[in-house]
Homo-oligomer: 307 residues x 4
């Protein structure tokens, strides 16, 4: 995120007549007019840091029209002509309504580790999250192999199997369970038993958390009951967030942050800056907020072929 | 562990008349005479790998005297005159009994990430585990700070608060809960509220798993009920094992593995090779197997002073 | 590389009638018929390892037609119908000639950290190399900032500024010197002095090694002589190779290795498997071997805007 | 370093009547009275950062008595009663003279990656530097093994082979060249050739930079001329500094920083806080500044036995 903030600030200052303010704490900060002028020098040495120098947080009341009206008023009082929103579907929906109802120019930048935003191949943070999860899986693999054990590793991904699929392919997982394409338990058992019969004595299953974080415990319980398999469970949880961002994420964030300011300068509004086929693109913010991005089935199937 | 295996093998081969066999899969492997001759070249490029090239596993039946008699017979049949056992209390107890009952020379090398072995300041694997857990905590800190949140991070440590204490001091935790020194919930709540009143809006609590892995969930539940605090839970679990070992662990393992062969060459038996005040020492294996190591209270208290 | 080898082997074994041999030590190994049958199980646990389980090396004599004739004969003697070559321009040229002269089916997979292969957006190893270099730069930044110093960091890239440009953008470098677009020394000096006059007291310059590794020392010498600037030099060198591959590299390698076997199964020859706009593609191997890939000027310019 | 600063500040504030100021930029900052009041909150989230929030730098003029008199005057003007100096021999000598000449209470904390300070087993930063160098060596090992090559890796250590010795033992180096115990070139050549004759086709030599950084190039040149050996050179240089500190370094820094304030509170002066045999100790600052610490020959010899 910090890389995107830096890119927005420095691109804007590169055009000499722009001033940039950071909103501290997301929409809640906007409602309290908690803004801070951002200068170029304050952006030094933030590129390598995880988290965000602008704090963040959920703001449920932003769903209410009168609250958004207040937000728009605050922006006008401060003389702010354009808003760059870094976040996911929820943040984009808020921005979209703000723009529609109050004629504020808004541009979205996709930042979520789930990589589940329609209209962009990558979101800021997902490459780092995949690498962090992969580190954990490589370590778990050491134990699985030394102890001939079966592990279930639960990774983030409420509606999306992207992280599970990427991590599973990169980590050589024996099975990947994703929300988009449920696999019956029998098939999972068969696969583990088939592996075992070929002499493979350790396995790692990756499961996206889906609607119910902690489901890996249920799965382990079922494997025990139905097939007598003893599986250890690891929930990666919040460890997948944070940490110094990967090169790829910093570059993506720099490109998208830069693109957001360019879009505002071109008079665009209600667009999200994404990347498709390697190119920076502008897509409808409403689409980004509402449409769902399909799973990359190629990676998911390839992981299975190579397991 | 691999560093210790390498040190044992290469030290033994350095004395020209010794041959070395690795037992594959711990005591269970010994019962099946699953041994493998270990040459110097096979030790190349294992120093940096997590896990162990000799597999491992629990062997509950080793508690029975007749099973140990079989193990001793297997060793004699193979002409093996000395046994180096890398592990924790359980492994040491087995080795101690094997030595007492069957006059086998045994030397222990402390290898457990909990660092809870009596007679040695450090055990192989603990420095790596502390650094791995610290990495996770640094990442969680990014989120805690960005979102103004309270986190409970559960680290390994069944009977020992070593890992929790080290990680908590190094990671700047606001509170560290260890089995050796239980803190009443009221005190924890008071501390969090005191921090909050000083303007600190994010906190990390470290909890050793103790006798009940998953206790962090209970703690979070209690904080919610009694004090209305919303705490996120992270269970680091098996991710703390494995991974490329730290420099300090590789050096320790090299010194202890070397010391184990030296001890066998000196005709010693039933000793554990440890490190005390920076020096390699030999201590009674029975003591190592049975006595408990006190918590380093200095670190635990210092963490609290500096939080 | 190991991820690509694994993908080739497992994809091939997935099609039941294929057998796979690994050539140990590149073309030199082929000349000595140093091949090894590769089974699925041998591919376990290599995904996370740097280097290559098949060794590698230069083979200058492969430039001679009679040597290639011998290589083709060896392949025929072994009953090998298709060859997958993982490497860069030189390896591809050898493969291309082998195919043209002796009617051997060859497919190329781009593996070089310089990311300078025509026909593919990414090469295997480049993402890992960028992240490794970035780690070093983040550490150097700590010292640069603490000591108010100027650093010149030399990264790999004989003909290509890709690595320099990516690392420079991700690392917040003040200036990036690439072979494709030489910058006069005066401009570099001006930029450093302009930064200094804005209060910036530490800077990092990234220089691609170009045709002359060690040129960073010359540059530092010139900055000293002409502008009285005291610059420290770091040559990253071979540290940029090796190491556990990033998730992105493992996924890319898996996709390309899989694509290579698919291409052979389709009867294709003299193609390289690349990735363009996120899709796996087949391009002419001759083009990949001979055409040069232009610098991504967008990244290079963006780094300058954001510095 | 930041962990030590944090420990000094928070320990001091724990004793309610103390105020703490940080000197920005070392002795040069002291001469300009460039001080900053340090509060507890400002110490949040610095534990995991490399470098130092207080900047640093050499100050050659501090060798002159009249300059030290000015520094003492500045401290008195600010009402500062005790000075904690984090650094190496040079910084300690300055502090020692300041104390002797002007009756200022000074306490030293050893912070240098070379681990070459008399009176302490460990210095702050050395464990991190060893791990950073080891990472690089593990990566280089991948290339050395894949390409059957000989590498010379130059690590820091002007007068001390500590870093070389630790890294060499942990990294499985075939030979370690340290300033304290020069090895004739013939012996190095013999060892490499002996390894080669046993079938070992790749080797890594570690060389401490000694009085002449870049000596690894000379060594490679000599190996080429005298023995026809082709060695690649890697100079780790400034990459060994910086980076997020290891757990061990953060704990050491916390203990020493805490000990420094305790010492000042006890009325001590001209002592260095060190660690010996795991215990925090106070040693004469003059000794720490002037006496030299012998090489840990045990590690150095052990590396050779295990290579």
């Amino acid at each position: 995120m910090n890389a995107a903030v830096r890119a927005v600030v420095r691109t804007a200052l590169h055009h000499q007549d722009l001033a940039v303010f950071g909103i501290i704490g997301g929409y809640a900060g906007l409602l309290e007019s908690n803004l801070q002028r951002l200068e170029s020098r304050a952006m030094a040495n933030i590129l390598q840091r995880g988290g965000t120098v602008l704090k963040t947080g959920r703001c449920l009341e932003f769903h209410r029209p009168e609250v958004r009206a207040q937000a728009a008023q605050n922006l006008r009082n401060l003389g702010i002509g354009g808003l760059v929103v870094i976040g996911g579907n929820g943040s984009f929906m808020g921005a979209h309504l703000l723009a529609q109802e109050h004629n504020i120019s808004v541009v979205g930048v996709p930042g979520t580790i789930d990589n589940d935003i329609y209209g962009t191949d990558q979101t800021i943070g997902s490459d780092t999250a995949v690498n962090t999860a992969l580190d954990a899986i490589d370590r778990i693999r050491d134990t699985a192999t030394s102890h001939d054990r079966l592990f279930i590793v639960e990774v983030m991904g409420r509606n999306s199997g992207f992280l599970a699929s990427a991590v599973g392919l990169a980590g050589g997982a024996e099975e990947i369970l994703v929300p988009e394409s449920p696999v019956p338990l029998e098939k999972v058992v068969q696969k583990i038993q088939a592996s075992a019969s070929k002499g493979k004595r350790s396995s790692i299953l990756i499961a996206a958390e889906g609607q119910k974080p902690g489901r890996a415990y249920d799965l382990a319980e079922q494997l025990r009951k139905r097939a007598g398999l003893d599986a250890k469970v690891c929930i990666l949880g919040h460890q997948q967030r944070g940490g110094s961002p990967s090169a790829s994420d910093r570059i993506l964030a720099s490109r998208l942050g830069h693109g957001a300011v360019e879009a505002l300068m071109q008079g665009k509004t209600q667009v999200m800056i994404g990347v498709q086929g390697g190119k920076v693109v502008q897509v409808s913010l409403a689409d980004a907020a509402t449409k769902s991005k399909p799973l990359d089935r190629e990676s998911w199937l390839l992981a299975s072929t190579l397991a």
